[in-house]
């Protein structure tokens, strides 16, 4: 069952907005630090500029803490879910469960590969599931492959820098991260094994990064489905 906050029946849009704000603040703070150099300024100007920068950073940090805290604790949606893709369609709020699981799992994958500042759109993930052509006779691997391509085309991950992308072979962070999450969603696992399974799905996805990037780049759903069929039992 999905967890709703007292703020409204569906806190997701507000959660998405707060996460967007947090993302911009973090990027802005990083850009500020990268861009403004006081080394070449005269001493008095550098002292003033450094004081202003410290205050600006402090303000950014405080707003970041507030938005993070709100998004996490008040609005929910940060709890890891033990979902299985094949059983998901039986749920009444499958789109909510899917998008929350994808958000939390992508966050974990991005942390694991060292790209924690990439923005993840839970709204895009929900929209993808709502508009997916779900056929009862589709194999889980086929469903997962179609969702993979839809998530990529809906740009569920945004604000990936070249440095972020290079965290995985072939700079294919977007494809690898989405592939890892869908692979994990198909794996047979218990609650206790949830985190280890996600970490393993990420490791496997990196190990086959070249093939995943090629299949996703060519939008070849059959190839992606074949990879899922081959690997899902081994997460």
């Amino acid at each position: 069952m999905s967890r709703h906050s007292p703020i409204g029946p569906d806190p997701m849009p507000l959660r998405e907005a707060l996460r967007g704000l947090r993302h911009v603040l973090r990027k802005g703070g990083q850009t500020l630090a990268d861009t403004v150099s006081t080394d070449s300024m005269p001493k008095s100007a550098a002292t003033l500029a450094n004081t202003m920068l410290r205050e600006a950073e402090d303000i950014l940090r405080r707003i970041d803490t507030v938005t993070s805290g709100l998004a996490k604790t008040v609005l929910g949606g940060e709890t890891p879910k033990t979902l299985h893709l094949a059983k998901l369609s039986q749920s009444r709020d499958a789109d909510v469960q899917f998008s929350q699981a994808v958000y939390v799992a992508l966050r974990s994958v991005l942390d694991q590969v060292g790209a924690p500042n990439v923005f993840i759109s839970e709204a895009a993930a929900r929209s993808v599931y709502q508009h997916a052509a779900l056929r009862a006779d589709d194999k889980p691997a086929t469903l997962a492959a179609n969702l993979t391509l839809d998530l990529l085309s809906a740009r569920v991950l945004r604000g990936i820098t070249a440095q972020d992308a290079a965290r995985v072979p072939g700079a294919a962070l977007e494809s690898i991260a989405v592939f890892a999450v869908l692979l994990w969603l198909q794996s047979d696992r218990s609650d206790v094994e949830n985190d280890a399974a996600l970490a393993a799905a990420t490791d496997i996805s990196i190990a086959v990064a070249g093939e995943v990037a090629k299949a996703c780049g060519e939008k070849n759903a059959d190839h992606i489905a074949a990879l899922y069929e081959k690997l899902a039992a081994h997460v």
Binding site: A196, A197, A199, D203, I204, A207, L231, H234, V235
Partner: protein, 196 residues
């Protein structure tokens, strides 16, 4: 038969049969970390494990066993032993662990002192194999005395670094077989006298 202890107790418990669990990266990774810790304590060394390399090894190993898995069920037991040798082959091709320093406890003239990483990887493959054989076939794994002979380890290291397929033959040797040194990584190419 060697009386070398295999540290099977360092292989984590699982609710699934080991033959299934070993084909899941989450268990394989846990088992490898647990084993390298135990092996490190035994020989007095600390190992660093590269999880990215370990995952790549795991995927290549799965592909290798899937390619060669016999459809004839009577060959299942032989293939169990063979699968362990393919695991060692993949590990020596891209060693997933490195010792932070020379072992403090193992003597320099022992296998563990001579090549700690190769020793630990080999013992891991033997321990997993031994645990799986015990569970599936209720048999104890006997290790060939070659494991206690440093000359075999010299040869293993020198040849495996040149051609990782040699490692598959080395593990088969430790399990008491006569490897086909021309094609040690090909199940169908086992020597006729091995096939009986």
């Amino acid at each position: 038969m060697s009386d070398k202890a295999l540290l099977v107790e360092a292989i984590p418990q699982t609710n699934e049969p080991l033959r299934i669990a070993v084909r899941r990266l989450r268990w394989f990774k846990r088992a490898f970390h647990s084993f390298t810790d135990a092996c490190g304590k035994e020989i007095g060394a600390e190992f660093l494990v590269d999880d990215v390399k370990l995952a790549a090894i795991f995927v290549r190993w799965l592909e290798a066993i899937d390619r060669q898995k016999p459809s004839d069920r009577s060959k299942r037991r032989d293939f169990f032993e063979f699968a362990a040798s393919l695991m060692l082959q993949e590990m020596t091709a891209e060693m997933p662990l490195s010792a932070k320093s020379a072992p403090r406890i193992a003597k320099a003239e022992s296998a563990a002192g001579f090549w700690p990483e190769g020793y630990c990887a080999t013992m891991f493959c033997l321990a997993v194999h031994s645990a799986a054989m015990s569970q599936e076939f209720h048999t104890a794994t006997e290790i060939d005395p070659a494991i206690d002979d440093l000359r075999h380890w010299w040869s293993f290291k020198e040849n495996a670094l040149e051609d990782a397929r040699f490692s598959a033959g080395f593990l088969q040797l430790l399990l008491g077989h006569k490897p086909n040194w021309l094609m040690p990584d090909v199940f169908r190419a086992r020597l006729k006298d091995e096939l009986g």
